[in-house]
């Protein structure tokens, strides 16, 4: 790696230039430059659809130590637009490792940059806010990329990452299988709860955790309408995380409006924001977002604090929410909304990632809560809600 070093540049919207070395694909790229403070889980980050359209900068300086394996991907491919690290490891050490980060990026045509002062970059993004940036073989080339790129907030990135067709999730013994065959009508003898996922950029672990709780999981394109979903007689619907500005997702908001109150609904991250909009609330862009595995969230009902995994650049405006929607969780770092609950309808919603991956598993219990909500919904919960 020391022998043939090729220079590569990161240029930011504000004109700052970082000179480092190329790794990954031999290509240029542009995207919103964001940092994540998670110290492990780079493979999960690379494949997290919520990072679509972004050049991701892990603040942890040594990336790739345990390689890339067949198990840790959170979606079908790398989703980040580019990857910027201080140091990447060419000699990973792990029983499961199949290739290096460099090889992985190359294999999927994603460019990376290494050798820059990522802490200086992070501090810049913190003080000036996240901004567009581009990678190129020269500063000029990068500027060209930057000019040609469309702005992150103007693009509906969900369309780029959602599934093209519905499928039933099966994941046995760690082996993923997608099958389209069994996504039909609910069979009367089917013992499990049926959860439909509106895929704005779902992570495998969400589906895994639902499945491990005895749920049948069927995933739908983000554009699926309320009718299409309800027709499958779900016990619950999950609105998944995903990339981009929720303001661009009117179609998803329409779908959400059509399902709430009819079936228990669980929103995660972008799903939370879509639900907020469905209830008439609004969202706004955070200066530099919440991205990492160490974010404290307070559950306002219990007073308990949880360490959560987060990855979002937008937040729900608490003041915009109607009276029948209460803020259930807040960030202990900046007080922003981290969860909501509808006072009358079986709707639960969180801004953070209970599926973690990467990150602490402390919030997996929320999937149990969702299951409980579905079970309740099938008995009296819904009736109560309806009679209100």
């Amino acid at each position: 790696m020391t022998d043939a070093r090729v220079k590569r540049y990161l240029v930011l919207e504000d004109g700052s230039v970082f000179e480092g070395y190329a790794f990954g694909a031999d290509a240029g790229t542009a995207g919103e430059v964001v940092f994540s403070t998670s110290m492990t889980g780079y493979q999960e980050m690379l494949t997290d659809p919520s990072f679509a359209g972004q050049i991701v900068v892990p603040t942890y300086p040594m990336i790739g130590n345990y390689g890339i394996n067949g198990r840790d991907a959170e979606s079908a491919r790398i989703r980040v637009a580019g990857f910027v690290v201080r140091e990447h490891c060419d000699q990973p050490s792990h029983a499961d490792s199949e290739m290096t980060v460099d090889e992985y990026l190359r294999s999927q045509d994603v460019p990376g940059l290494w050798g820059i002062d990522t802490r200086a970059l992070t501090r810049r993004l913190r003080t000036r806010g996240v901004m567009m940036g581009a990678l190129g073989s020269s500063a000029e080339a990068a500027v060209g990329q930057l000019k040609a790129a469309s702005t992150y907030g103007d693009t509906d990135l969900v369309q780029a990452v959602t599934t093209g067709h519905s499928y039933r999730w099966t994941d046995s013994d760690g082996d993923r299988q997608h099958s389209n065959s069994d996504a039909g009508q609910r069979r009367p003898d089917w013992p499990r709860r049926r959860v439909l996922v509106s895929d704005y950029g779902v992570k495998y672990n969400i589906m895994r955790l639902l499945q491990s709780r005895g749920c049948e999981v069927i995933t739908f394109p983000a554009t699926a309408t309320a009718e299409e979903l309800l027709q499958r007689e779900p016990d619950g619907i999950l609105l998944s995380p995903g990339p981009g500005d929720p303001e661009l997702l009117d179609y998803a908001v329409e779908t959400a409006k059509g399902i709430v109150g009819k079936v228990p609904v669980f929103g995660i991250c972008l799903g939370n924001q879509v639900l907020a909009r469905a209830f008439g609330g609004s969202t706004y862009k955070l200066k530099f977002g919440h991205r990492g595995a160490n974010h404290p969230v307070k559950d306002l009902r219990t007073g308990r604090a949880y360490i959560t995994a987060q990855n979002h650049g937008y937040a729900v405006d608490a003041d915009s929410l109607p009276a029948n929607v209460e803020v259930s969780h807040v960030s202990l770092n900046d007080g922003t909304v981290e969860g909501m609950r509808h006072r009358e309808m079986p709707v639960m919603s969180i801004q953070y990632h209970s599926e973690a991956s990467p990150g602490p598993r402390d919030s997996e219990y929320i999937f149990d809560d969702f299951v409980a909500l579905m079970d309740q919904g099938m008995d009296q919960g819904m009736n109560e809600a309806k009679s209100n």
Binding site: T40, T59, S93, Y365
Partner: protein, 1102 residues
């Protein structure tokens, strides 16, 4: 939600809390508890809680005025604590910050009914938790109940039991004898033959004939998590740490990296979740350390016997308290674990405690690191060359260093620089031998040497179990070395080498340049380190803590403040001879600077200490204490403005040694000049100086060869004292009785002196006296005179010191004051100095209690042994017992304020109406193979203090606190060298009077019989009849041992077994007759008439 909506019920906040300190520094329990206790006291006071602190260790910041509300420096025994509780009436007691000592004491207090009797609540972690975590059996059961795997183990007491255990556990197995130290008799058995051998020796070594046979996980990854939990069940992990050395080497003896480097997120979270499950099940309130073993990667796993079955990880151990690891985690992340633990103990929730680092967020978060931290232990084998250097399940390190950088390689190389082992940089190579890949203190260098010679890192991983990720990093270092050897030193290469952590000196060696030449080239290229902040959040939030590390990057975050600034150079890792006392001084120096309106900048490399707490100084740089790092910090602080001056007086020999390089580089030094320092440290200059001022010192000379040595010894007469010049803690120092011994010494000493000369002095077997003084150029203030109980020849650090000197004649005192004053003024000392004197008049031992003070013959025979132009080991002690704030006075003197301006005057400070005894504490039971006899080479690791109105109770308390108190009506084994037998008569009489049953070796027994006393003769010959000396010690026949030696090889070897066995049996073993007499005297007379009072009460007078 499955969490019922219940606002956690508030715990009544206690009003007054007793905090238990950890006592003396011993291996396994070092400065980290001063750091923890100090933080905790501050945190409690912030909460409005009155704090009462008890600790027996005077060399601590926590026992200083202003840290706790009331301070007791008293022995840590149940009896003493009960008296404190009765007097102070606290409503809570907090033991979890006092290490194992604190925890054990809490259990004892509860068992003795003290807590119930006085209605004192145990704060922090509940008693049941302490028991569940400490008792292996109970712990295993609890883990079983919550489904956390522990390695299978069986308790074995017989041959049949061992057979059964073998079937259940299988091989390899760890065999741990119950109640033995240093794992004596046990080990890791890989073969049947080894199994039966260890089972046999293990059961024999255990006093109760019991061993624990446990599945061996040697070679598995060892990972630790630091976990916090509050009473509302909120849990976080502060940090995880991965051991470079796999399971089988104690974490305290392992190179440790934070955060983990080879764990995937899945594994990280697996172990994190397990740690949280454990802390919840235990119900810990506060901090807790969880140690786990994780299945190794393929390359290592293939070398292990078939272990495919079973879980991917095992829980090894839990410490339900703050620990060495939590101090490391605090420094590595910026998260103040002890502070938060203390707040939790008085009922605060994690989300209610502010994050002191960011000032904005709360303690309920997990630090994110954007750097790599490497800790390397500091072992005492540079002093104890004869000790067993192998590393295993028993910790042997006395201290540690930590380094931070953006890559593992750089952090590792900086940590190696921080170790300050003379002539041992990363390029040093040990002599290869058969066992050199097994775990020992030099293995890191062995591995580096091997990759340098081309051994594949994977091969090294197969041999050692060290993960290939680490061995490959070593290979990358070796590759850089190769490039430096081969390529021209251009800008890019130099930049890359610096980025990888190479020191200028190291680059110089590889590129055939001097360190200065490399530094100059670096300056030409404009390559300077930048400084990054340790902010607990990887830059996500703006932080307030001025805690920095150097790295070669683009952006510098530590911009000069432009305000008047001074740099305090710390003392580095704790080692024998340079302990926590110097950290105490450094901390006070920083405080004094701040109070004087000067910004204090602290540089240090030791993660255990108060000095490296981010709120001790105005700025903290976590850096190696070598010239390059220190000068870089100074340059960084200077920026384009004024260069800050450095203070080198407080960081022990480490800091003082830097004075010459700083001076040569034209950097200013506060206080005594580099020339003054040089005169005091250079034998030749110093002798000239003394001669000029007419101050006597023992005759002697520095010699370079054997011939000259014999000649000098002949002239001055035997015995002589020999040592290499310029070493710390009397290393390689010996009393030599004759020419043969001298020849032997001369042929060995040169190695230790690394080419320097050997000093030969006349050995005076007189009494030793020590003073500290502060000098402003006009006056010299001596706060008090400390007289040693042991005669000269026992290192001052290993002697019991008594304040005030009780047996000194007026002439002697006058001479000491006069010499000290003249030396201070003559050397032009600005700040502190320390002098040891030997007094040759009168008996070597004079009982302070017998009242027969000698009037002297008019001529004081006082000789200067040495002058240290710096603070000393006794500064905390003398400051505390006299109330003279020595460090503060010295700092103000350096800043230009005279003693008079500070309200003090020269001469001997008024004698306090107290007697204070400082007693050394040793860690010999941990260091197999090390001889424990006292000599001119320092061996102790810590100290305690006994203070009272009279000598007898003061010494009794010092002995009690040091664990050297003789039991009433006991039995003792005496084996004394001829020379001391005259002094021994008095000792034997005292023991007899105290009702002691006497056992003795032949010669000594003859002497006792001749005195007309009853004695049982015990043979020294181990191969012959029984019981022999070892038997009577091992089987508990005797409660203590006196074994004095003359210092010649023969008598040393004779007594070695006696001393080792006594040490391992943990009974008092006196090797100086003077200590033994003090201990025996304290038996005669009431032993419980000591007072228990706050330090302030003693100082305020009766």
């Amino acid at each position: 939600m499955n969490n019922p909506p219940s606002e956690p019920k508030p715990i009544a906040k206690p009003k007054k809390v007793l905090v238990i300190g950890s006592g003396p520094i011993v291996i396994g329990q070092a400065a980290e508890f001063d750091y923890a206790g100090t933080q905790a006291c501050k945190a409690l006071r912030e909460e409005g809680v009155t704090t009462v602190l008890v600790n027996s260790n005077p060399a601590t910041i926590m026992t200083d005025e202003g840290v706790a509300d009331v301070v007791y420096i008293e022995p840590l025994t149940v009896e003493v604590i009960e008296r404190i509780i009765a007097r102070e009436k606290p409503d809570g007691i907090l033991p979890t910050l006092g290490g194992q000592t604190g925890l054990n004491l809490a259990v004892e207090l509860a068992d003795a009914g003290v807590l119930d009797r006085h209605n004192v609540r145990l704060l922090g972690t509940p008693l049941a938790t302490i028991r569940a975590a400490e008792d292996r059996e109970e712990f295993r059961d609890l883990m079983g109940r919550i489904g956390e795997p522990t390695p299978p183990s069986e308790i074995v007491e017989s041959q049949q039991g061992a057979e059964k255990a073998l079937k259940i556990i299988g091989l390899p197995a760890v065999i741990r004898p119950a109640y033995t130290l240093g794992g004596t008799g046990g080990g890791i058995a890989n073969t049947l033959e080894e199994y039966w051998r260890f089972a046999g020796t293990g059961m024999a070594a255990s006093p109760i004939g019991q061993v624990l046979v446990e599945k061996s996980l040697a070679g598995w990854k060892e990972v630790e998590y630091e976990v916090m939990r509050d009473a509302a069940d909120n849990c976080i992990t502060v940090c995880n740490m991965e051991n470079f050395d796999p399971m089988g080497v104690h974490t305290g003896d392992s190179i440790v990296v934070a955060p983990s480097q080879t764990l995937s997120d899945k594994e990280y979270q697996l172990l994190r979740t397990a740690s949280l499950n454990i802390i919840r099940a235990l119900g810990v309130e506060g901090g807790c350390n969880v140690q786990l073993a994780l299945r190794p990667g393929n390359i290592v796993a293939k070398t292990l016997p078939d272990q495919i079955e079973g879980p991917d990880y095992y829980v090894i151990e839990v410490n339900p308290r703050v620990s060495r690891s939590s101090a490391l985690a605090s420094k590595a992340t910026g998260y103040p674990i002890a502070r938060v633990a203390a707040k939790i103990a008085v009922g605060k929730r994690l989300d209610e405690i502010p994050n002191a680092v960011t000032g904005k967020t709360v303690a309920a978060f997990e630090p994110a690191l954007d750097y790599c931290v490497v800790k390397i232990p500091r072992w005492p084998f540079d002093k104890f060359a004869g000790g067993d250097r192998s590393l295993g399940t028993q910790m042997k390190a006395t201290g540690e260093v930590m380094a931070i950088d953006r890559t593992f390689e750089a952090a590792l190389l900086k940590a190696v620089r921080s170790l300050e082992i003379t002539d041992r940089d990363a390029l040093w190579e040990p002599k290869p031998d058969d066992t050199h890949f097994e775990a020992h203190d030099e293995r890191l260098w062995t591995l580096l040497a091997a990759v340098r010679q081309g051994t594949a890192p994977e091969e090294l991983s197969r041999i050692t179990g060290v993960d290939p990720w680490f061995t490959r990093a070593l290979e990358r270092i070796a590759k850089m070395e190769a490039r430096l050897l081969a390529e021209p030193l251009g800008r890019d290469l130099l930049w890359e080498a610096k980025r990888m952590g190479f020191a200028d000196a190291q680059i110089g060696v590889l590129t055939d340049r001097s360190e200065e030449q490399v530094a100059r080239r670096r300056a030409e290229y404009g390559l300077r380190p930048t400084y990054k902040m340790v902010d607990s959040c990887a830059g996500e939030f703006e932080a307030e803590t001025p805690f920095f590390y150097s790295t070669y990057e683009q952006e510098n975050e530590a911009l000069p403040t432009g305000e008047p600034t001074a740099v305090v150079i710390g003392s580095g890792p704790i080692r024998i001879g340079q302990g926590i006392e110097f950290d105490y001084c450094s901390v006070h120096a920083a405080w004094a600077l701040s109070d004087a309106g000067v910004k204090s900048v602290m540089i240090n490399s030791n993660p255990e200490t108060v000095s490296t707490d981010f709120d001790t100084s105005d700025r903290l740089y976590f850096e190696p204490l070598d010239a390059e790092s220190v000068m870089s910090v100074i340059q960084n602080e200077a920026g384009d403005g004024a260069t800050p001056a450095s203070i080198v007086q407080f960081g022990g020999q480490t800091a003082i040694n830097l004075s010459q390089s700083l001076d040569a580089a034209g950097l200013p030094i506060l206080g005594s000049s580099a020339q003054s320092i040089d005169i005091a440290s250079d034998r030749h200059l110093f002798e000239e100086f003394l001669a000029r001022h007419g101050i006597p010192n023992p005759p002697g000379a520095a010699v370079a060869d054997v011939g000259r040595a014999l000649q000098v010894a002949q002239e001055i007469g035997y015995p002589v004292l020999v040592r290499p010049s310029y070493v710390l803690g009397g290393r390689a120092m010996e009393i030599v009785q004759n020419a043969t011994e001298l020849v032997r010494y001369m042929s060995s000493a040169f190695a230790a002196a690394s080419g320097r000369r050997v000093l030969i002095d006349k050995y005076f077997e007189g009494r030793e006296v020590e003073v500290d003084a502060v000098c402003d150029g006009e006056q010299v203030l001596i706060p008090g005179i400390m007289e040693h109980v042991e005669r000269a020849g026992v290192h001052s650090g290993d002697s019991m010191a008594v304040y005030p000197g009780l047996n000194l004649t007026k002439q002697e005192v006058d001479a000491i004051v006069d010499y000290t004053t003249r030396i201070g003024l003559g050397l032009n000392v600005r700040g502190l100095m320390n002098i040891q004197y030997v007094l040759t008049s009168g008996n070597t031992y004079r009982s302070p209690t017998d009242g027969s003070k000698r009037e002297g013959d008019g001529r004081a025979e006082v000789f200067v042994i040495e002058v240290n132009p710096r603070s000393s080991r006794t500064i905390p002690f003398i400051s505390k017992v006299t109330g003279v704030p020595m460090v503060r006075l010295a700092v103000n003197v350096m800043l230009g304020k005279t003693l008079a301006e500070q309200g003090f005057s020269g001469g001997l400070w008024k004698k306090q109406d107290i007697v204070a005894v400082k007693a050394p504490v040793f860690s010999m039971s941990k260091l197999t193979g090390v001889d424990t006899y006292l000599g001119p080479e320092m061996k102790s690791t810590g100290e305690v203090m006994g203070i009272d109105r009279e000598f007898r109770p003061a010494v009794a308390k010092a002995l009690m606190a040091a664990g050297l108190m003789l039991p009433k009506n006991g039995s003792i084994l005496l084996s004394m060298a001829d020379k001391t037998k005259a002094d021994a008569v008095a000792l034997v009489n005292e023991l007899h009077q105290a009702g002691y049953k006497l056992y003795a070796t032949k010669g000594t027994a003859a002497m006792i019989s001749a005195m007309g006393l009853e004695v049982t003769t015990i043979t020294k010959v181990l191969s012959g009849e029984h019981p022999n000396v070892v038997d009577v010690i091992s089987d508990g026949t005797v409660d203590a041992v006196v074994n004095t030696v003359t210092g010649d090889r023969k008598s040393l070897q004779d007594g070695f077994n006696i001393r080792r066995v006594a040490t391992e049996k943990r009974i008092p073993c006196f090797t100086s007759i003077d200590t033994a007499r003090a201990a025996a005297e304290s038996l005669n007379g009431p032993t419980d008439d000591y007072s228990v009072a706050p330090l302030q009460d003693y100082l305020n007078g009766p």
